[in-house]
Symmetry: C2
Subunit: 367 residues, 2 copies
């Protein structure tokens, strides 16, 4: 809790009390908003609230999000630090963001929650809306896995299906005008990346003081959050340098890759990784800057790379979804682009659970 | 790690070096074996190995088992301490037991792993066998949920289907004679209840110093393990009394209930709770003694009670399987049998994840 917290627009300078109102984006210029607040390092307890003094708002009703295990494994001369984000309550790292965002909606007295999502955020938002007693509507692309859609219904949320991820966002915008509705908008809402900072804090406290981070890029919230988290640790003098960022995008949706390297013509499909099929991430500038500033790189992967990664991860005992599996070939391919030969310790968040899509995993791994 | 650890038979006095051989039951009299070893309280690190000094063996390859979150909620004047065991790596508390048992198999040089299971243990054993590179065969009853069987195959284990849970045990026994095969036999193997002691240790360190524990009873390993764990804490002087145990059995399979209260004639079915359909738990005597010694009780529940509990738990945000949901009506019914009116804090392990059976959950909760 941070009663002095303020909404802040990097583009036009707009500011507003964080606890007096909510804008999913800047009401003056339309840019993504950030939040300014005082931070101090005083970890206590467990879950996200362990880092209350580093966050603008507490999680009011924890259901076990955060404090995920870290597991190290040797891989090709590297030491991979797998952060098991798929062991969050609804099976993905999105629970960290939703726990803060729906707390915020609840505190501000909103009556309804609205979200557009490729699946995991929709499920996570429906879970947290349910425990706060707020009715939720989730707009999903038709191709979202059936298991995720079923779970959203299980938490009593309404579902609207849209042809594509972009259509889902467009439909949500149209419904967001009602002043009693909190439009979560996780690709805009800074509470999502702010919540993901806690992954960096936890990894640091679990012994990761390493050289690099590998991260699948959908809307880029995870990238930004991890970067902000490590930057906090650096600013506090707790770590000596911010890790290099290796981003992974699919060939079917590569906006950050093209922003960094220019347009490319790539064959193939990466649609198995439904979590990173985001065409127009609102924070494209900020996300791209992370890879530039840390002298990192972005690699492209396709469906074959995903299946390859899934098999490796299952052999390690990690039951993850295809999107999460993209990171294995991501690491292998990155060595061609970044100076990985000097690296040893890499943080690898495993973002989503495979338990929601067992049929698909079996079809891909043991057809 | 405890190099002085010994197998020990409470019935005939048989003893043997724990690190020199493995017997799934006493080779002299056929009774279930226990393990004798020195204990000291010195928690350090995370996961099961946090309690190395309280266990006969370490987990050699952790994949994030243990250190599960605890979440408190008010319920009918009680404070329930939900221990989220479904957030273990394969989605159930069985991972604690398998991590120790397969470590043991690996250290002793066994070449193959065999297990009979209603589903969760089979999956858990197949996962740990996979990470240790040991080929596994799992005998499951036909009615085990498809998702669990698919996951077992995903980890490369062979599956044999048997008509019932008892048939599965019988078939496994026939295959267990090969001296290179470690027959896990979780209903006999004391490493399973010993591993579950860590749930009690964690709950204690997470602030639970309460009056009662509610536990679904299948083979009874969880009951025994929690009891042994709290007894350790009591013997160490860390807690003032051992909590009262409330057991939950289904009307379709109620051996512990009948051992305690005598034969009963009950209508209905509890087959939705596939995890507690165990007809002949080998440790029946030891399990029954827990309820006597703690002045607890056992209640019977049926499918309607399970659906009722599932709905309540989903409203709390817990995505659990039907077996886990049996505890809600268990608590309500217990107040008729035990003196619950003096109780306030109850530990409630939520044993298994609902993500493995989303279709079934949807059918039961939102048909």
């Amino acid at each position: 809790m941070n009663s002095e917290a303020k909404w802040f627009c990097r583009n036009c300078g707009f500011t507003y009390d964080f606890f007096k109102g909510y804008y999913y984006r800047c009401p003056k210029c339309g840019s993504p908003l950030n939040i300014r607040y005082d931070k101090s390092w005083n970890p206590r307890g467990s879950g996200l609230n362990r880092y209350s003094s580093m966050l603008p708002i507490n999680s009011l009703k924890s259901i076990g999000e955060g404090s995920t295990p870290i597991v190290t494994r040797e891989y090709d001369g590297l030491r991979l630090w797998f952060k098991l984000e798929y062991l969050n309550p609804s099976g993905s790292f999105k629970d960290r963001g939703s726990s803060l965002a729906i707390s915020h909606a609840y505190r501000l007295g909103y009556r309804r929650v609205l979200e557009d999502s490729s699946g995991n955020t929709g499920l996570s938002v429906s879970l947290y809306s349910c425990i706060y007693g707020l009715p939720a509507t989730i707009i999903v692309p038709e191709y979202a896995p059936k298991g995720k859609k079923d779970l959203i219904r299980l938490f009593g949320a309404g579902i609207v299906e849209a042809p594509t991820r972009s259509d889902a966002a467009r439909i949500a915008l149209g419904m967001a005008e009602d002043p009693t509705t909190y439009y979560v908008a996780h690709t805009w809402n800074p509470l999502y990346p702010i919540a993901y900072k806690t992954i960096a804090y936890e990894a640091y406290e679990q012994g990761f003081h390493g050289d690099a981070v590998v991260v699948p890029i959908g809307s880029g919230g995870l990238t930004l959050g991890l970067y902000w988290g490590f930057k906090d640790l650096y600013d506090l003098g707790l770590i000596d340098n911010i890790p290099l960022f290796i981003g992974v995008q699919g060939v079917s949706s590569r906006p950050v890759y093209e922003k960094l390297y220019g347009m490319v013509n790539v064959q193939g499909s990466s649609e198995l990784a439904d979590g990173i099929l985001v065409k127009e991430p609102p924070r494209l500038e900020e996300i791209t800057a992370v890879f530039k500033e840390t002298k990192g790189c972005i690699v492209l992967i396709d469906n074959n790379d995903i299946i390859y990664g899934l098999k490796k991860l299952i052999d390690y005992g990690f039951i993850v979804e295809p999107t999460s599996a993209s990171i294995i070939r991501g690491i292998e391919k990155a060595s061609e682009l970044c100076p990985l030969n000097n690296l040893r310790d890499i943080l690898v968040p495993l973002t989503g659970s495979g338990l929601k899509m067992i049929d698909l995993l079996v079809k891909l791994i043991r057809p």
